[in-house]
């Protein structure tokens, strides 16, 4: 990898502040993967065709596995004895750090595809960088996950193309989904205070560079899909700072139901 903007030399032990930021960032990655996996898992048994039911469950499983790796690492970084399940099941919506995009409801298949494609573009290009980053654990998780993310982006891109260049109806639906969801794309590459601090410390890649790669990827796929790339869209943000849309509360109520109803038990 010659195009990596990440420092690869041995880094000094992180300061306590960096350690805390790293915990917050890993938790953000965990929340993001979990929430998107949860949304995708809602499709299970209801997909438009059996093969795509399988594909969505596959991606959900990959993301769930990735989320678990991050949660376990976050718990270790925090060092307070919390487990992956404590972090996933016992934090409220304002404590969740996922970007707004991934908590958006599934909508129709076009909505799910567009949400997935927007996320996959960011996810894939982020993981490519993180795998050569200075934090060994994070790099190891990224290295494993990037192979999965490469499949995800291939799958969602192919569907964007099929739907964009399919029938009139599929085009209308995918355009509507883009109109609904594009406003959540900007948050992915707009660094939060935590991410800014970690970028300065060399732990998180430069998002402007990632944005360029995303733009190139989107342009290529949308061109094949005969879809215009949206311009000048006002971008929503807040999820990464714990200010979420109304949807997340319901999602967590469902996700956390058993752990909240019967606290402290093993399942």
């Amino acid at each position: 990898m010659t195009d990596s903007p990440m420092p690869t030399q041995a880094t000094p032990a992180p300061t306590p502040e960096t350690q805390a930021n790293l915990f917050a960032f890993v938790l953000q990655l965990a929340d993001t993967s979990l929430i998107l996996a949860h949304r995708l898992s809602e499709w299970c048994g209801h997909g438009p065709i059996l093969e795509q039911d399988l594909a969505m469950a596959n991606i959900a499983l990959d993301l769930l596995g990735e989320a678990r790796s991050y949660y376990q690492y976050a718990a270790e970084l925090e060092g307070k004895g919390r487990t992956e399940d404590d972090l996933a099941y016992l934090r409220s919506a304002v404590e969740y750090r996922n970007p707004l995009l991934v908590e958006q409801p599934n909508g129709d298949f076009a909505g799910t595809i567009v949400r997935q494609f927007i996320y996959d573009c960011f996810h894939y290009h982020l993981l490519l960088q993180l795998q050569s980053g200075p934090d060994a654990q994070l790099a190891a998780i990224a290295e494993k996950s990037v192979k999965e993310a490469a499949y995800h982006i291939k799958w969602s891109a192919e569907w964007v193309i099929r739907l964009g260049d399919g029938t009139e109806e599929s085009r209308r639906r995918v355009e509507k989904a883009i109109e609904n969801l594009w406003r959540y794309s900007g948050e992915l590459t707009t660094p939060s205070a935590t991410e800014k601090a970690l970028q300065a410390a060399g732990f998180v890649p430069d998002y402007a560079a990632i944005q360029q790669q995303i733009d190139a990827h989107v342009t290529r796929v949308f061109e094949e899909a005969t879809l215009p790339v949206p311009q000048g869209v006002f971008m929503q943000k807040g999820g990464k700072d714990g200010r979420h849309s109304e949807h997340l509360g319901y999602l967590l109520a469902e996700l956390q139901y058993l752990q909240r109803t019967y606290p402290g038990l093993q399942w």
Binding site: Q52, A88, G166
Partner: protein, 318 residues
């Protein structure tokens, strides 16, 4: 040497009797083909509809590990559906037609999936009991006379035995947990025990297809034989878990080296078969809705593939 003139049907039966597998291109009696299409597609539909009751708990699974296992399990069922639809296709059935028959109510699926999943313990019961019963039904099918079906079943059975173990493990965790969890497990067993016994089908005396299916070696044990086997296998497991099987007539019979047990509520059985179970309408509606709402997606995929083909043809021509 005297040559025997065997009819096609006699030759066919001779192969079955010699345990030679029948393959798609071999001659087979129409009734054999029809019986298999009915049975395999019914089995495929059961996998498809069977995703729904467990899918009902994926979003509420109590830990990340459980969520992951449950999602993988339901995904396996989708995979089983695919193998089985493919096996039925080798007999000349089309997936579209099979699905149309499911959606119109003409084709059946396992009645067990018309019962609701009401608590987390139901994920344990479905794995432990329902998959346990399915395994007993299915293991003999790995040796069934039709090759593609038998081979599909080998794969299915491997995964099912993993499913059953994870179901048992859910039950065990609940039974070793708090009093509330133990009660949850018992309440689940109370609801699932009898419907699971119904999974083996009507009594032998009322099962009209059994005799012919046994002769063709599509089926290798009768309904009552399998039901007995199931009870004998499950009662010790329930005892191990510290749960009570909800049957006051259950009693070890030393002479037959098996359990005597009470009679299934056959009125309930036939009611659910006829469509009057708690979830018959919901399950079918969910399938029909997924199919109808997916129509535009399937059309788009076809339309795009067609456009691509034409562009490629134009390129070649140019």
């Amino acid at each position: 040497m005297e040559t025997l003139e065997l009819t096609q049907e006699e030759q066919f039966q001779a192969r079955i009797d010699a345990d030679v597998r029948i393959e798609p291109k071999d001659w087979m009696p129409d009734a054999y083909r029809k019986t298999l299409i009915r049975q395999i597609s019914q089995h495929a539909h059961s996998e498809l509809v069977g995703m729904l009751p467990e899918g009902n708990w994926i979003t509420r699974a109590p830990s990340l590990k459980r969520k992951s296992i449950l999602l993988a399990k339901v995904q396996d069922e989708a995979g089983h559906g695919l193998y089985l639809y493919s096996a039925a296709e080798t007999l000349g059935a089309s997936r579209d037609q099979m699905l149309a028959d499911l959606h119109s109510g003409k084709a059946k699926y396992s009645s067990i999936f018309n019962y609701p999943t009401l608590s987390w313990a139901d994920m344990g019961c479905v794995g432990w009991l329902v998959d346990g019963a399915a395994i007993l039904n299915q293991v003999p099918l790995c040796r069934t006379s039709y090759g593609p079906y038998a081979r599909a079943m080998v794969r299915v059975c491997k995964e099912e035995s993993f499913h059953q173990r994870q179901g048992f493990e859910i039950m065990q965790t609940l039974c070793e947990g708090s009093p509330e969890q133990k009660a949850m497990a018992q309440e689940g067993l109370n609801r699932w025990w009898w419907p699971t016994l119904m999974m083996f089908g009507p009594k032998d005396s009322e099962s009209p297809n059994t005799e012919q299916s046994m002769k063709w070696r599509i089926k290798r044990f009768t309904n009552d034989e399998l039901r007995q086997k199931f009870v004998d296998m499950m009662v010790p497991q329930a005892e191990f878990l510290g749960l009570t099987v909800p049957d006051p007539n259950l009693k070890w019979n030393e002479a037959k080296q098996g359990y005597d047990f009470g009679d299934v509520d056959w009125e309930e059985f036939w009611n659910v078969v006829k469509g009057n179970g708690m979830c018959n309408q919901e399950r079918l509606q969910a399938r029909v809705q997924a199919h109808e709402e997916g129509a535009w997606v399937r059309e788009a995929a076809l339309a795009h593939a067609e456009k691509r083909k034409q562009r490629e043809a134009a390129l070649v021509a140019a």
